[in-house]
């Protein structure tokens, strides 16, 4: 309460909502002209359904099809080639990208004219085709052949993913308890705190499953290269986790504040009002991030497009889940486990 001490209670109420004269059974009518009358809580089942329609196929795809692994996880063929004409990095990169066999591969400069090129695993015949293609575009190799062609394994993908999962579980538990502590001062005490924490956690898991599921579908069902999983994707998932919780807490904070100042509204009405009051901010913030990511997705380099797409999907999902899933879930939870 301390941060509100300078505002008189009457003034606070004036900022909020003029109490409705209507009986409580009617959908929450918010008489202030500024707040648009969208009934998100009342239509919550539609929003839950939309989420499930995307998430369930994703989970099925993950369970039965798995993921398409990128080069840094799955390994592949590594060429070390010394070009006599000493082509620039850019021209080698575009030559590698132009060949369907090596598209998505990486180019590392190892000296003037000398490059390490990694692609997905290739048969000896395919290797020959790639070599011919490269000499056709970039000129002859020193000595007429690559210095070395070897099969490389993936980096320790298993450990990376295991560590990331462990971190995710620990972070989820920490977020649950942090929210329980921060929100225990709403009416209902600790149990209410855990309802807030649990709902935020559910929204977080929603975003994680939606993102990983969509990538599984894109990579394995449609076979698109952009759906490859690599260490950058792991980073993207964790970024989305941070963003999603951030978004949800802003809405929940408003609910906490409104619960304090407007005792006469039902819980549903308070939640709906809070969503309306914070929606502009959520959408504007996400919009600014989406602007940056879209720029990278359209104009950025090929190696970063999958990464930008993962972030884009995750940020949109995070905003959606904080508005349409987290708070409605809180309302459902209150109905199942009433606190007053």
């Amino acid at each position: 309460m301390s941060e509100l001490s300078d505002v008189a209670p009457a003034e606070q109420a004036a900022d909020m909502v003029v109490p409705s004269e209507k009986p409580k059974e009617t959908p929450p009518e918010v008489p202030r002209p500024r707040v648009r009358r969208l009934n998100i809580i009342g239509r919550r089942n539609i929003f839950f359904l939309i989420s499930l329609l995307i998430i369930i196929p994703g989970i099925l795809s993950m369970a039965f099809k798995g993921f398409l692994l990128g080069i840094d996880f799955a390994g592949g063929t590594e060429f070390t080639i010394n070009f006599t004409n000493q082509p620039s990095v850019a021209s080698v990169e575009s030559a590698v990208a132009a060949d369907p066999l090596t598209a998505g591969g990486t180019v590392i400069q190892a000296g003037a004219g000398s490059y390490i090129i990694r692609s997905l695993p290739l048969t000896p015949q395919q290797q020959q085709i790639v070599e011919d293609h490269l000499t056709g575009r970039l000129g002859p190799m020193a000595g007429g052949a690559p210095q070395q062609v070897i099969e490389v394994g993936g980096t320790i993908a298993r450990e990376t993913i295991e560590f990331a999962l462990l971190a995710l579980v620990l972070a989820s538990a920490a977020i649950l308890f942090l929210l329980a502590i921060r929100f225990r001062n709403v009416p209902g005490g600790w149990r209410a705190g855990f309802q807030f924490g649990g709902s935020a956690l559910a929204a977080l898991l929603h975003d994680v499953f939606l993102l990983t599921g969509l990538f599984s579908i894109m990579g394995k069902v449609f076979g698109w290269r952009i759906g490859e999983i690599d260490s950058l994707f792991v980073t993207a998932v964790l970024t989305v986790v941070g963003f999603s919780v951030h978004d949800t807490i802003v809405v929940f904070d408003r609910i906490r504040e409104n619960l304090r100042v407007s005792q006469r509204l039902s819980f549903e009405q308070v939640v709906n009002l809070s969503i309306m009051q914070t929606a502009a901010r959520s959408i504007i913030t996400s919009f600014t991030v989406v602007l940056v990511l879209t720029a990278i997705l359209i104009a950025g380099g090929t190696t970063l497009k999958g990464f930008a797409l993962a972030l884009l999907i995750g940020i949109v999902s995070g905003t959606y889940s904080s508005i349409f899933n987290a708070s409605p879930l809180l309302v459902v939870w209150r109905r199942v486990q009433p606190l007053r």
């Binding site: 300078d6 190892a110 070897i150 942090l178 929210l179 913030t285």
Partner: protein, 497 residues
């Protein structure tokens, strides 16, 4: 909250600003004046304090580093080669982590599981080889009679493997011995190793009995990397003199099939039977060499021998053009965000953009000073924290509009907006910080860089949004010309008042 607007706080902000400008800017003046490239390390680059140079440290994916190909030889019999290769990768990974390299990439290669390639950022080839290949295998030998050996350290004797190796050691630690002068390495054996060691020392004493007597049969010799081939060549005095020299980790790490390096560690006389699985290695250790050796032993020994096939200095793994394009796209996106903030929020948006510049400058200075090695994941963390800084501003401004519409005067609305937006900003950033700490400790290396930059960014964004923006707003509010609602991005006619 009154503290926020006090002069000491403003002075602190100005101090941070001046410091950031100095750290960020001084180097560029020097670079331009001396025609050096604008990025990376440059000799004599200011500001430097002794050997501490300030520049942006870039990770392997952005700047490249050292690429080493290893050939694995001497596979232990009866084990799957793939398993042995995996174990070797784990040991290398452990050793590389002791270097503090960001995001090392170690992968198995070769059709026969007989190759390993290693990519390391910001480490010289020499340093990398020393760490990866150092102290491959600690080996205990005893002396056995061989009349064909006429020269060497023990004429008439050659070493023989005892079966005791570094694999039988549980842990090792550097310590000062009882005399308090020289450094030793204390080792404790595994239960199997302890038994073998007990048997060996008992046999030593039995072979050459009597207190204080000394003969070759009473010695247990410790070597690094001694091979059967070395023992087979014991009759060649030239060969032995190379091998029986103080161990040289640099040479051992870079050895190829034909180089000969010193492998000798120590050749103590066994005074009495040693049971209990504790032993001490003494020699001419310094603190550094004793610590090196014990770290090497603790990190485990390699199940195979490593031979360097090829060492190259490599460029970035992400693709130079790709990173350039994406940086340009990211900058374009950020400019659009600034433009949007100014159009949508007018004067507050402009102030927030100034605060963002302050924020970016301060964070870059911190990255240089710490120093934080920047990888793509790290830059993502930084950009995410910029997003959160923008978000904190948006929260305050949206609140500000509400307060003005509710009929407050503009200065009062600024105060109320900051005060009421604070709990949301605090809680959301706390949760992000906690996540960062967890990721920093248990995350895989690729994620740790992300956690560090995001964590630094979140703290700086809190300061930027709450203190800097608020102060700028408060200063501007004193000029009455700017107090018009239109400039504040608020259309009062729509208000509920």
């Amino acid at each position: 909250m009154q503290l926020v607007l006090s002069w000491p706080v403003r002075l602190l902000i100005i101090g941070i600003l001046v410091f950031s400008l100095f750290v960020d800017g001084a180097g560029y003046i020097y670079r331009v004046a001396n025609h050096y490239p604008l990025t990376g390390n440059v000799p004599g680059l200011p500001p430097n304090f002794g050997s501490w140079q300030l520049y942006i440290h870039r990770g392997l994916d952005l700047a490249g580093g050292t690429h080493i190909d290893y050939q694995l030889t001497n596979f232990p019999a009866g084990q799957s080669r793939a398993d042995v290769q995996q174990r070797t990768i784990q040991v290398i990974n452990k050793r590389v982590n002791s270097l503090g390299v960001s995001e090392p990439q170690i992968r198995g290669a070769g059709n026969n599981n007989d190759r390993i390639t290693v990519d390391l950022a910001g480490v010289t080839a020499q340093q990398a080889q020393k760490t990866i290949g150092a102290i491959s295998k600690l080996v205990y030998t005893k002396w056995v009679a061989d009349s064909k050996v006429t020269n060497g350290p023990q004429p008439g004797y050659k070493p023989a493997f005892t079966g005791l190796t570094g694999d039988d050691i549980q842990s090792a630690g550097a310590a000062i011995d009882q005399s308090g002068v020289s450094w030793v390495v204390n080792i404790s054996f595994t239960s199997h190793g302890g038994t073998v060691f007990d048997d060996l020392t008992r046999a030593n004493v039995a072979a050459c009995p009597g207190t204080g007597t000394d003969c070759p049969l009473r010695h247990l010799t410790i070597w690094l990397d001694l091979t059967q081939k070395d023992i087979d060549n014991w009759e060649d005095p030239a060969y032995v003199s190379k091998i029986y020299a103080p161990y040289d980790t640099g040479c051992l790490a870079a050895q190829t099939a034909n180089t000969l390096c010193g492998k000798f560690l120590t050749d103590p006389t066994t005074l009495q039977e040693i049971s209990g699985g504790q032993a001490q290695i003494s020699g001419n250790f310094t603190q550094a060499s004793a610590t090196d050796l014990s770290t090497g032993i603790n990190n485990g020994s390699l199940p195979v021998d490593l031979q360097v096939l090829d060492v190259t200095q490599v460029g970035s793994t992400l693709g130079a053009e790709s990173v350039k394009l994406s940086l340009a796209a990211g900058l374009l996106g950020l400019s659009i965000v600034v433009l949007f903030m100014i159009i949508y929020y007018r004067v507050p948006g402009l102030l927030a953009s100034i605060a963002l510049l302050f924020y970016a400058g301060a964070v870059l200075a911190i990255f240089k000073v710490v120093p934080v090695t920047l990888t793509l994941a790290g830059i993502t963390g930084f950009i995410l924290s910029v997003g959160m800084a923008v978000d904190a501003n948006v929260l305050i401004f949206e609140r500000f509009k509400e307060e003005v519409r509710a009929g407050r005067t503009i200065p009062a609305a600024v105060d109320a907006a900051v005060r009421r937006a604070w709990p949301a900003i605090r809680d959301s950033n706390t949760s992000t910080l906690i996540t960062c700490v967890i990721l920093g400790f248990v995350g895989p290396p690729a994620v740790q860089g992300f956690a560090i930059t995001l964590g630094i960014g979140v703290v700086a964004s809190l300061i930027s949004a709450i203190i800097v923006t608020h102060n700028l707003l408060a200063i501007v509010m004193t000029g009455s010309a700017l107090r018009r609602p239109g400039l504040m991005g608020v259309d009062r006619s729509v208000g509920a008042v």
